[in-house]
């Protein structure tokens, strides 16, 4: 019996931060000393390689591993700055035509032999791509944002995960805007956890640095960045490892005086 944690990172809706979360959690776990592999299960629209800055180092993919035309070690791309992290790239989009749940299970079984954590970056949607990825996972982290469409789609995914027996399923609330929440113009943390009835693994504040880091292909958790999102992902990784880290409080989010002044200057009076 393997002690590897195989975790599906999924959301239902696209664009809520699955791949960003996978990249940042992967790096954070690796930095905390866990041997971690991130598996890009989004064969149609792969991007995990790009966010990790590994896009130019891909030689083989999951496809060649499955076809046994290369060894797993040849396909794995090791991160140069963080050697505890490896990427198994997604294969050709044409794989979608024949890929079955048992194929994903076979890939994951290979990875579980040598890693502590297998993070699966799930495609958006609830079709075959999702089902293949979910079949290989033991537990799941559902990413959502405090928006109606994202929460609704997350609910569909949670229902499917429950029927597949994936357990535990935890929630990450991404792109939280503390100011909008305090003005009650955004669903609160409690609203979302009440509606979805999942334990909250973490919340991540909206943070411009995320875009900067993806531009560079260097996840925020790679450096000791003090940006809110970097801290949030670090905290989530620690909680996954079983540490008790308090959740961030949106109402306590610090807003610098300068930022406040700038906002004031831009406020339309009428």
């Amino acid at each position: 019996m393997s002690t590897t944690r195989t975790i599906l990172i999924c959301s239902g809706k696209g664009g809520v931060g699955k791949t960003t979360t996978t990249a940042n959690l992967g790096i954070a776990l690796a930095r905390q000393g866990a041997k971690t592999v991130v598996l890009d299960a989004d064969f149609g629209l792969r991007n995990l390689d790009l966010l990790l800055g590994l896009e130019n180092r891909i030689v083989y993919t999951a496809q060649e591993v499955l076809a046994e035309t290369c060894r797993l070690e040849q396909a794995l791309v090791k991160h140069k700055q963080e050697p505890n992290l490896a990427l198994l790239p997604a294969g050709n989009p044409r794989m979608l035509e024949w890929l079955k749940p048992k194929d994903m299970q076979a890939i994951v079984a290979l990875l579980e032999r040598q890693f502590d954590y297998v993070l699966i970056d799930c495609p958006a949607g609830i079709e075959d791509g999702f089902k293949n990825a979910a079949a290989a996972a033991r537990e799941a982290v559902v990413i959502t944002t405090p928006e109606v469409a994202a929460v609704r789609d997350a609910d569909r995914v949670i229902g499917l995960l429950n029927t597949q027996g994936v357990q535990p399923v935890q929630l990450v609330l991404n792109r939280v805007r503390p100011k909008m929440m305090s003005n009650q113009e955004m669903l609160s943390v409690d609203d979302v956890t009440d509606i979805l009835a999942l334990p909250l693994l973490g919340l991540v504040f909206e943070d411009e640095q995320v875009i900067v880091s993806t531009n560079r292909g260097e996840p925020l958790t790679l450096s000791d960045s003090s940006s809110p999102a970097a801290q949030a992902y670090g905290n989530i990784a620690q909680r996954l490892q079983g540490e008790d880290v308090p959740l961030m409080d949106p109402s306590q989010a610090r807003r610098g005086l300068r930022a406040k002044m700038r906002k004031l200057m831009q406020t339309r009076i009428f």
Binding site: V148, D155, I158, L187, I195, R268, I269
Partner: protein, 102 residues
């Protein structure tokens, strides 16, 4: 936020949108989770009222059958105000006399 919007909110001319979002989500999720569309629900509502009306005189205008969700469990909640029991209930095999809450 402009001053106008602020005053609107202060005077509660419009509820904060988070509350609206929550209410809309709860409703749509109750339907998503039960896989019942509004049309089927309406048909079920009519049939339930028909059955209950055989036993008790109910206020059809006030009667309400809806889906409610809590902790991922969806319940069908029927709230049917009873005017008075019908003296001679229709001959259907049942022992329950107060199917007011389903």
């Amino acid at each position: 936020m402009t001053v106008k919007e602020f005053i609107d909110k202060l005077l509660r001319r419009q509820p904060a949108s988070a509350e609206t979002a929550k209410e809309r989500l709860q409703l749509v999720l109750a339907h998503d989770r039960s896989d019942l569309n509004p049309e089927l629900l309406e048909q079920m509502r009519r049939e339930i009222l028909e059955v209950v009306a055989r036993y008790v005189e109910i206020d059809l205008a006030e009667g309400d059958v809806s889906l409610e969700t809590e902790d991922r469990v969806t319940a069908l909640v029927a709230n049917l105000p009873i005017r008075r029991p019908i003296a001679q209930p229709a001959k259907v095999e049942t022992s329950e006399q107060q199917p007011a809450q389903a």
